[in-house]
């Protein structure tokens, strides 16, 4: 899911064009008559592929059977097309009744424009059923603007066979052990890390996680508010990443590699040509898709702790998805969200493998062993940080990606990276 969301710029561009040209006849805003008994609720989602496509159809059927006066009109779009369509609609000052959101900076802009309903009053006890990590992306200044539906995290996916070949018994727990393991892998003739240098966003995970481990979550939060990224934690994170890049741990030609294309990061990993990659919960699926897949040889370990750092090894970095409600939506919209996130119903969705647990104690519903590891790590998370390119305004997020890519390529120093991000943040 993440793959196509971040996917080819070509698709994005064509989707923008198509989105701009498309008819707006079926846009939201026609279905506000809750007085007459029968209500239609528009439900904008990204459930265009299985398993969620068939799950969604069944869920809507079940809901309508329970609430005969409510009709749920599903409007599914592929990720990039969805973003383009929603942007067009919100620019004209409207929002669908229920719509998919990823939280962060974009949701913040929609809230500022008065398009999103404040759900704090309606949620009550309901909000307590979700994990803190799942909720964090949708809470702005103490108010809740969306209900989580999916959550994941980034960590190291590694090839157990290649680790064994290099004589590494245990995955590293600290950054210095990690660097030692990279050296061991290199010495054994194994490419330690697969990285998509062209896509830039996979590189920013390293810098973000290092900053989190060194400065703690508070450092990132403070920097986002004061728009100052020149603090020692960020410079040190840059230095650590620079030292790693100096070991030349990445696959040949990584600067031109994409994430999901043939020969890209996921394929390199899936074909067993590199020992690890730092990626989100979708990594195993894409490895199987773009490469052969590793099967039982695939393992997961959280980003290692940095000695003397303030951040805990249990602090997680990632993102998820949720649903927001348009400010003019009928009250029945909330009923549907309550239905979707009610424990037995959400467990069904999780069991399909399409979504990860957002409710407390839901981890055992995960059937896929790889996703189960991620879910368990998330359940024990002591803190959560949203992807930086989503948490901050678009220009700042892109500058993070861009500057870190230059740091890895050796054309920017750690200080210059901190400086460039700060400058962009201040100019926003």
């Amino acid at each position: 899911m993440k793959l196509s969301r971040r996917g080819a710029a070509l698709l994005a561009a064509s989707a923008l064009v198509l989105g701009g040209c498309g008819s707006t006849g079926n846009d939201a805003g026609e279905s506000k008559s809750s007085a007459g008994g029968k209500v239609t609720v528009e439900f904008w989602n990204i459930w265009t592929t299985d398993p969620l496509k068939s799950y969604g159809a069944q869920a809507i059927k079940d809901f309508q059977a329970k609430h005969p006066n409510i009709t749920i009109k599903s409007v599914p779009y592929e990720n990039e097309a969805f973003k383009a369509k929603l942007t067009t609609l919100t620019q004209s000052g409207k929002a669908p009744d229920i719509f998919q959101t990823w939280g962060g900076g974009v949701l913040g802009q929609q809230v500022d424009a008065g398009l999103v309903k404040d759900l704090s009053a309606d949620t009550g006890d309901w909000i307590g059923t979700f994990t803190d990590a799942a909720l964090s992306a949708y809470q702005v200044e103490g108010k809740t603007y969306a209900i989580p539906d999916d959550i994941g995290m980034v960590g190291f996916w590694y090839n157990k066979a290649l680790f064994k070949k290099a004589g590494i018994a245990e995955p590293p727990g600290t950054w210095s052990e990690f660097v030692d393991d990279v050296k061991k892998l290199k010495a054994a003739g194994v490419t330690p890390i697969a990285l998509a240098g062209k896509d830039k966003w996979p590189g920013h995970y390293y810098w973000a996680y290092l900053s989190m481990r060194i400065g703690g979550l508070d450092a990132l939060k403070q920097a986002g508010e004061s728009k100052d990224f020149t603090g020692p934690a960020f410079v040190e994170a840059g230095q650590k990443l620079k030292e790693l890049a100096a070991l030349q741990p990445f696959q040949k030609g990584y600067l031109g590699a994409t994430y999901g294309d043939p020969g890209g990061q996921a394929a390199t990993m899936g074909d067993g040509k590199a020992a690890m990659e730092l990626m989100g919960q979708w990594a195993p699926a894409v490895q199987n898709d773009a490469g052969k897949g590793l099967g039982d040889d695939l393992g997961f370990f959280p980003f290692p702790a940095v000695d003397g750092g303030k951040g805990a090894v249990t602090d997680a970095f990632g993102g998820g998805g949720g649903f927001a409600i348009g400010s003019e939506a009928p009250p029945e919209a909330i009923e549907f969200l309550k239905f979707l996130t009610e424990s037995t119903e959400h467990r069904k969705a999780v069991a399909t493998g399409g979504l990860l647990p957002v409710l407390k104690g839901e981890e055992d519903a995960v059937t896929d062993p790889n996703l189960s590891v991620v879910a368990k790590n998330l359940a024990g998370a002591t803190g959560f940080q949203l992807y930086l390119d989503q948490a901050y305004p678009p220009a700042v997020g892109q500058e993070v990606n861009d500057s870190v890519a230059q740091l890895i390529a050796g054309t920017k120093t750690p200080e210059q990276v901190a400086q460039a991000i700060t400058e962009t943040a201040k100019s926003e």
Binding site: K198, K200, G253, P394, Q406, K412
Partner: protein
């Protein structure tokens, strides 16, 4: 009666012309002129492209930022590099092949078709094709280089070779187009002239140098013009293959503009970049037409004016 009739006729003629032109004019103003004016307007604002027209006036700040930006100055340098390479390598290559395919050789229609084919392919397909051929890990190009004992190159993945690789793709894509221009130009040269030169004892080279080349002048000048404008606006190939990377080393002005406009939502700043691009193209076009293509244009316009 005699005086009003022609006037009403003239009026009717004018109305007819207007009616025929109107659809085209409406489209031209709505889709070409208005966006250009909007870009000029937006370029002096700080604007994220949302909620109606921009309001945060910043004066010339966007332009001072553009002209101090390392990446944009790099874009200018890379654009110049591509222009020089195109004129020095790509166009002579096209000219050579055009002259070759003007000879009476077997299957020349086939070769003309074959060499023109890349131009018909879309930019996106060309880009994806060359991403595979020039892949650093399992590309065809490295495989062939291996036969000659050459170490595999990183092509698009190395800042020092990426521009060369982009230029190879550009040449492959566009040489056929210039070749067709030259063949058409060559066929417009009367055979008597080359025959006369040969009877006077001119060698093949001398015929080419003193008869063919001067008479191809107008074609070459227009082909250089198209090539330069193409290099200034280069976008799709680069965007798909490298996205401007690694670390901006293959970025062009259009790619920078797209980055800021559609990725970072700094539409005001991106508009300023587009305005600068507009002026570079305009200044080049005016100077080139005024000083280089003056003779070609004179022939057409002055003669017509005299006849009027």
């Amino acid at each position: 009666m005699k005086t009003t009739r022609p006037r009403s006729l003239r009026l009717r003629g004018f109305t007819t012309i207007l009616l025929f032109l109107l659809p085209a004019l409406v489209l031209f103003f709505g889709l070409v002129v208005a966006p250009i004016l909007l870009a000029f307007y937006a370029s002096v604002f700080k604007w994220n492209g949302m909620r109606g027209l921009p309001t945060d006036f910043v004066g010339m700040a966007n332009f001072t930022r553009v002209l101090a930006d390392e990446v944009f100055l790099g874009d200018l340098w890379r654009g110049l590099l591509l222009i020089i390479l195109s004129v020095a390598i790509q166009l002579p290559l096209s000219l050579g092949i055009a002259m070759l395919l003007n000879q009476k050789i077997h299957g020349r229609a086939f070769f003309r078709l074959l060499f023109f084919a890349p131009y018909v392919l879309s930019e996106a397909i060309t880009a994806v094709l060359f991403m595979m051929i020039l892949s650093p890990t399992d590309g065809l190009a490295n495989y062939i280089l291996g036969w000659f004992g050459v170490d595999p190159l990183d092509w698009f993945a190395d800042p020092s070779t990426v521009m060369m690789s982009v230029f190879i793709v550009m040449t492959w894509k566009y040489f056929g187009f210039h070749m067709i221009l030259y063949i058409a130009g060559r066929q417009g040269i009367p055979r008597e002239l080359t025959e006369a030169a040969q009877i006077d004892g001119a060698t093949g080279w001398k015929t080419f140098r003193y008869v063919t080349l001067p008479l191809l002048g107008p074609t070459i000048r227009i082909s250089v013009f198209l090539s330069v404008i193409g290099a200034i606006q280069l976008f799709d190939l680069v965007w798909i293959i490298t996205g401007g990377g690694p670390s901006h080393s293959s970025e062009t002005m259009a790619v920078t503009m797209f980055q800021f406009g559609f990725k970072r939502f700094q539409v005001g700043y991106a508009s300023a970049i587009s305005v600068v691009m507009f002026f570079i193209s305009l200044v080049f076009a005016l100077f080139y037409q005024r000083y280089v293509m003056r003779r070609d244009l004179e022939g057409a316009s002055t003669v017509l004016r005299d006849q009027r």
